[in-house]
Symmetry: C3
Subunit: 134 residues, 3 copies
């Protein structure tokens, strides 16, 4: 288990608009689970209506969109970003997706299917470019 980057990590508070003091926001934040040491970037938007889980020490870059509900195509489903996973800036994660433990998603990716543990994925839509070499 990796050490957390934030020894005094605490779950952020959300104002009446769902905004945190770090300038990322979440709608339906009662359904957002945040692991200790997890880090969400500025201007990231999370829709947790159907559940979103961000694991311990996971990192989500700035300007990401994490949707457990997509009103455009009618999809819904819990999103899970496992422990130690990293998402680069400007990623979009669609409903029902699981991003595995320690996986890395490159910046500017559109993630509409699962990413295995330890894999590296990127692109629009995201493809695995390197499997876990464990």
């Amino acid at each position: 288990m990796t050490m957390t980057r934030f020894p005094d990590w605490r779950r952020p508070e959300f104002d009446e608009r769902g905004m945190t003091r770090w300038n990322w926001m979440c709608q339906h934040h009662a359904l957002l689970e945040l692991g200790e040491g997890s880090d969400i970037g500025a201007f990231t938007y999370i829709n947790a209506r159907h559940g979103v889980e961000v694991g311990r020490n996971a990192q989500v870059g700035s300007h990401c969109s994490i949707y457990s509900e997509s009103t455009i195509d009618g999809k819904t489903g819990r999103v899970v970003i496992e422990e130690d996973a990293c998402l680069g800036s400007h990623c979009v994660v669609m409903p029902g997706v699981r991003i595995g433990r320690g996986a890395v998603v490159g910046a500017c990716s559109f993630v509409n299917r699962d990413v295995p543990d330890g894999a590296v994925a990127l692109g629009v839509p995201a493809r695995v470019v390197r499997a876990d070499d464990g």
Copy 2:
């Protein structure tokens, strides 16, 4: 005509920075026309200096940029997003573009020309990948 998703829909108010309570913003909002039931995502930016129209029940995802003016290349022109059109997250729409009725633009697209009614378009720059099969 589709039913609106928001029976109590009302035009949002803009603060002195052009921000709405939904955390999307518009500069020159006096020149922004919003149809009933239209839905704009968080962290979307609209520059309405030369006019922007978003039709009834149209949906614009989070983190989009809609420019009726681009100071980088000096282009200007009214942007029209017709009734029931949908733009995925992270789209950029350039000056003078019309997105047709019921058209769908995939996430992370750069839209610098018109999208016909009912078509599906995506990419950087966006290309039509499916015409209206009416």
Copy 3:
């Protein structure tokens, strides 16, 4: 030397969250150098921990991310965007990158290496598509 677009240009103020009144933000803004007439778009995020310099009359579009530090891959380095350079909307600029005088970076680009003076670059990752024809 080009004339500035903003005869009354002044460095913006940053609130306790690093936000400006134009709705772009900067962490470690004491280490952000902004040239006269420079223009930063809404919802742009700058991490200036290791220094960021934006030259005179340079333009940065909306929804850009400029990182002098990337906690995902551990890279750090001063970012320099030279005089008169332009970055389109939704660009990501990685640590240590220099974008040359008058260079243009297309929207939705991921910039992880230097862009020469006067060049046009775009893509994920960004490639030079036109050298300076000066």
